[in-house]
Subunit: 89 residues, 2 copies
Amino acid sequence: MTFVTILGFIAAGLTTSSFIPQAVKTIRTNDTKSISLFMYLLFSTGTLLWLLFGIFSGNMPIIVANAITLVFAIIILIYKIRHQLAHKL
Amino acid sequence: MTFVTILGFIAAGLTTSSFIPQAVKTIRTNDTKSISLFMYLLFSTGTLLWLLFGIFSGNMPIIVANAITLVFAIIILIYKIRHQLAHKL
């Protein structure tokens, strides 16, 4: 494995796992006030399309990375939407 | 251009631009309470490594996408670190 390939794997591991601490914090505190709804709408849709891109092009690393990210992004998005709705009712 | 390539471009556009509304919200409200410091540390480091991966492998789309994302992720990270430090002093 080349240096550049290893660099890519570390990069993928970091960006993929980064949404885990945010999801944990959101569940623990039940607070999404400073989180942008629009960010998570764009990001979750984008990650879903990356997942489909991975499936259609048969690229397993893209499938795995985006499936993991999507789970945590969707958790944060659901919390944000719930808070947004509760605030408006 | 194939359907799968177009899908990839839309996915990249969405995930890349998603950090813009979060950065705008953070600057406007000056509030990062519900944002995870650990997420932005992992994510910014990962995006920097993706950028280096793009530079070393000469992949322009990866360079452009991650350079844009890095700017906005770093803005959010700086705000979060400033708030974290101010809270602890």
